[in-house]
């Protein structure tokens, strides 16, 4: 066997910029590296000096796909810092907003970004010709999830109706009832899409590596909006102590920070949530987990996409239940947040589509931000991607170069990283 050099610069179909480098010689991996060269944007530095009511709007721009999650985490951090209470209505509407983001993000990832790998094509575009029916079903679900998010946040990407303490605009009972009906009708399409993925799930590599999983966790529900930090290795921890969990460090090949906790690396995201919280899934979500033979603890990172699909189903069912609850109580559309800024420090945590997210702000007495820390899910996963590479790459070496490359790319995509990044350019050199 000869020399293999793979350099997948600017991985496609991930939200952000990442490079893969693999060097192998005579059947041995000499070096395999995951690099994140995107330009640093310094959010934690430049929010210093900005007022409390700007923070959620600014940090929302950390990620376009997770903008609802960043907004909510930011609001929770500000509320914790200033001791701001929120109403039950606000909390229920925010839970719906998370389901809105989870559904749109997960279907985008599974339907538009992972499906092309299963069918061995470069994007969803060729599938429009070969599998028009399936593509239209995915499009239908994606559109519905976006409209659901629009209804709750004013706008799916970078919400405009949310503020510390509550909402500046609240949907009507009629619109919510209508949305509930549409989700109820969409259950059938959801089942169809899950069937299609199941029929093609054989295309997911069977690879597994034991690691630690971290997500929010709660005794009462499938934790997304609230809970404690949970680890498959070390149990429960308070959110305020997040720095003891994340332990950020910097590697020169990456402008994104890396994290580790009880082991070399840990994983966050849908699979982590499933591994910690599956007992709280909705009935239909449990049914689909069973069909895919997904059981906790599952150590195959490629199953993250399946966990996303299972969560999609959960979000649909739970949204219907939450809307019922809101309607039974009646909606107060005139409720508005009242905030008096004050000095303090607060930490917010939400489990967003790609995993657990932390924002931590310190404000002065005028409500001006003086210190900030944001730890995003993708950064928590980088180190786990690197460790997976080291275990996965050696098993691939007898495959053709194109297949090695595809498998490594698929591994990164399984994590659904949102490394906000550029062009893609790909070099494969096989030397015999």
């Amino acid at each position: 066997m000869g020399k293999i050099h793979i350099d997948v610069e600017h991985l496609t179909r991930v939200e952000g910029h990442g490079n893969i480098v693999l060097n192998a010689n005579s059947g041995k991996v000499e070096n395999v590296q995951w690099q994140v060269p995107e330009a640093p944007r310094f959010f934690e530095s430049f929010v210093r000096g900005r007022p409390w009511n700007e923070l959620a709007h600014i940090t929302s721009r950390i990620c376009g796909i997770c903008s609802i999650g960043h907004t909510l985490t930011s609001l929770k951090a500000t509320e914790a810092a200033m001791g701001i209470e929120t109403s039950e209505q606000t909390q229920l509407l925010r839970r719906l907003a998370i389901h809105g983001e989870n559904t749109q993000s997960h279907i985008l990832h599974v339907g538009y970004l992972i499906a092309p790998d299963l069918f061995r094509v470069g994007s969803v575009l060729p599938l429009i010709g070969t599998h028009p029916d399936a593509v239209l079903k995915v499009v239908k679900l994606h559109r519905l999830a976006n409209e659901f998010s629009d209804l709750l946040c004013g706008r799916t990407t970078h919400p405009v109706s949310m503020a510390p303490g509550g909402f500046t605009w609240i949907p009507s009972e009629k619109d919510l009832r209508n949305m509930k009906m549409r989700w109820a009708e969409a259950v059938e399409v959801t089942n169809d899409v899950a069937e299609i993925v199941l029929a093609n799930a054989g295309g997911l590599p069977s690879f597994s590596r034991e690691t630690e999983y971290i997500s929010l966790t709660s005794d009462d529900e499938y934790a997304l909006y609230d809970g404690m930090i949970g680890s498959t290795d070390t149990g429960k921890h308070p959110v305020e102590g997040y720095l003891k969990i994340t332990n950020e460090f910097v590697v020169p090949q990456s402008t994104a920070k890396y994290c580790k906790h009880a082991r070399d690396s840990y994983m966050v995201g849908a699979l982590a949530r499933f591994n910690l919280n599956s007992r709280h899934l909705s009935p239909l979500a449990k049914h689909w987990a069973g069909k895919f033979h997904l059981k906790p603890i599952n150590y195959n990172p490629f199953m993250n996409s399946v966990a996303q699909l299972v969560e999609f189903v959960h979000s649909v069912e739970d949204s219907i239940a939450i809307i019922d609850k809101l309607l039974a109580k009646g909606i107060d559309r005139r409720e508005r947040p009242k905030v008096k800024p004050k000095a303090g420090r607060g930490v917010g945590a939400v489990d967003v589509p790609r995993g657990i997210l932390f924002h931590d702000y310190t404000y002065d007495e005028k409500g001006i931000c003086r210190k900030a820390n944001c730890i995003i899910p993708t950064n928590q996963n980088h180190n786990n991607i690197q460790k997976d590479f080291e275990a996965f790459a050696p098993t691939l070496l007898d495959k053709p170069g194109k297949e090695i490359e595809l498998n490594l790319e698929m591994l990164v995509r399984a994590y659904d990283p949102c490394i906000s990044c550029s062009t893609h350019y790909l070099k494969v050199k096989l030397v015999h």
């Binding site: 179909r13 092309p116 470069g122 004013g154 405009v160």
Partner: protein, 256 residues
């Protein structure tokens, strides 16, 4: 021959590209008019051969400048997509501090040599708009862009018409929707000087306009004078009050 379109991203949240994906079926219609040869967020293919380059994101480091210049050299038409490309994005607020101070604040746990200017990934990051580095032919403003406007601009370009970007203040659209003016409830809104075309989405949902689409072309003349007069304000005053997206216009060279 259909014109070839390539979509590139620099420092950004990729939310503007997401609006293109969110065109859903309409993207299939767009694909009938043009050949999308590169779109990293959504496809594996890439190409060095394109007529129109659509570029999202701000330009920070020398390696980013270089890449943008290469794209410019190949493209017949270059379009700036969204506020990051148009104005430098929210990340431009970082230019209030020196690159070293930003690095120290965010990467305090790093070994100094790993994040020094000797590492090209960390070299001299200062966020700028595309037109501060290369010539830009058209701009689609917004954070994020309005996807309907995106489709209209593309169609106009392909049919040889001037892309329709409005040049009136957000107040015009806000008044049409009969919203309660935020100045009556103690808010501060950039609507009178901000460029419209977003259907005044923020005030409509009770949020203050931050002028993510930039200012109208001559804010001192084209501002919404009646609103300013009613609340005893000048264009100058409100332009200095809010800078989330507009620090490009107020930024002092070499930091504050």
């Amino acid at each position: 021959m259909k014109p070839k379109v390539a979509i590139f991203d620099f420092a950004s949240c990729e939310g503007c590209e997401l609006q293109i994906v969110n065109l859903e079926e309409a993207i299939i219609d767009v694909a009938k008019l043009v050949d999308i040869v590169e779109f990293r967020e959504a496809m594996k293919e890439s190409s060095d051969d394109y007529d129109i380059a659509i570029v999202e994101g701000s330009i920070a480091r020398p390696i980013d400048e270089e890449r943008l210049k290469k794209i410019r050299a190949k493209a017949k038409i270059l379009i700036a997509l969204g506020a990051c490309a148009h104005l430098g994005g929210v990340q431009r607020l970082g230019n209030r501090f020196s690159p070293d101070e930003n690095k120290k604040e965010v990467y305090h746990m790093a070994r100094p040599e790993d994040i020094s200017d000797g590492n090209p990934y960390f070299k001299e990051p200062r966020h700028r708009a595309l037109d501060e580095v290369v010539k830009v032919d058209y701009t689609i403003p917004g954070c994020p862009i309005n996807r309907v406007e995106f489709a209209k601009v593309l169609v106009a370009l392909l049919t040889g018409k001037k892309p329709p970007i409005p040049d009136y203040p957000v107040c015009v659209e806000c008044k049409k929707k009969e919203n309660t003016c935020l100045y009556t409830v103690g808010g501060v809104c950039m609507g009178p000087v901000a460029r419209g075309g977003c259907d005044a989405i923020c005030p409509t949902y009770g949020g203050e306009c931050e002028a993510c689409r930039g200012y109208v072309s001559h804010p001192h003349e084209k501002a919404q004078m009646d609103v300013l007069a009613k609340y005893g304000l000048t264009a100058e005053e409100i332009m200095n009050r809010k800078t989330m997206f507009t620090s490009r216009y107020t930024e002092k060279k070499g930091g504050e």
